[in-house]
Amino acid sequence: MHVLSGLVAGLLFGLGLGLGGMTDPRNVLGFLDFAGDWNPSLLWVMGGGVGVFAALFPAIRRRSGPLFAPAFDLPAMRRIDRELLAGSAIFGVGWGLLGLCPGPAIVNALVGGWKVLLFLAAMAAGMGFHALWQRRRLGEDAPCEHLGPDA
């Protein structure tokens, strides 16, 4: 059930991205282009997504646990550190260059041509490079992997 839930959630999430227009990088770039012909549609996508999750999160969290796992597994980190700021800044530059972030890129994997596959391969390489660098620097995996049952 755990695995089936992942499949259903991924399918639904991807359909939402497609309906919202996020799977077309031109919409994303149009949203990020405040100095040009601004396209506000992603505001509605984010608003809808954040609104629904914000409304349902407290009720789900009040349960003693999830349906098909022993406990909730939420990010336990609290500190706003250099890594968070630098990583987010770097991510934003990559996102702004193309208008593709990980979700929409994966949705486009089989229908977006070879450039999407190139993007995904480069993204995986960037993630792999980060993991190696992190292990050399800290002798452990990324700190954000340290999840706790409480958040």
Partner: protein
């Protein structure tokens, strides 16, 4: 109305998908972390791979149901595509999340880290678009 309603329905669907994942598995729908977890270890490969498979399948469904929603709009040269992929991959891991984990779920649960992360990547993404489009005149 179509200009607001369809994106809003898309957003609501994303919110429902994230809520369902939390309710069923106890996990946050952070796509960069889920994707990285399929090949970088950390255990729990199965549900992560299933989530990624669901995303890929949604692309096939969209191509049939709403042609034009997928498979278009990637106009930059290959060198830029590769550079953007590297930055997105490295940055999302260093910053512990991307548009989904920080931008939707993190803000939805009022995480201060995610609010800061989202404000940061929105700013650098908008600056990048500004430089590319209005300073360099395109790629």
């Amino acid at each position: 109305m179509d200009g607001i309603l369809v994106p809003l329905v898309g957003g609501v669907t994303i919110g429902l998908a994230s809520s369902f994942l939390l309710l069923a598995t106890g996990k946050i729908a952070g796509i960069s972390g889920i994707f990285a977890g399929t090949f970088l270890g950390g255990g729990e490969r199965a549900w992560r791979a299933a989530f990624v498979a669901g995303l890929v399948a949604s692309g096939l469904l969209l191509a049939w149901w709403r042609p034009g929603a997928v498979g278009e709009g990637l106009e930059a040269p290959a060198s830029v595509v590769a550079a953007a992929g590297l930055l997105v991959g490295f940055g999302s891991r260093l910053g512990c999340g991307c548009t989904s984990g920080h931008g939707i779920c993190g803000i939805g649960r009022l995480s201060p880290r995610s609010l800061v992360a989202t404000a940061t990547f929105m700013t650098t993404a908008a600056l990048t678009v500004f430089v590319v489009r209005h300073v360099l005149g395109g790629l």
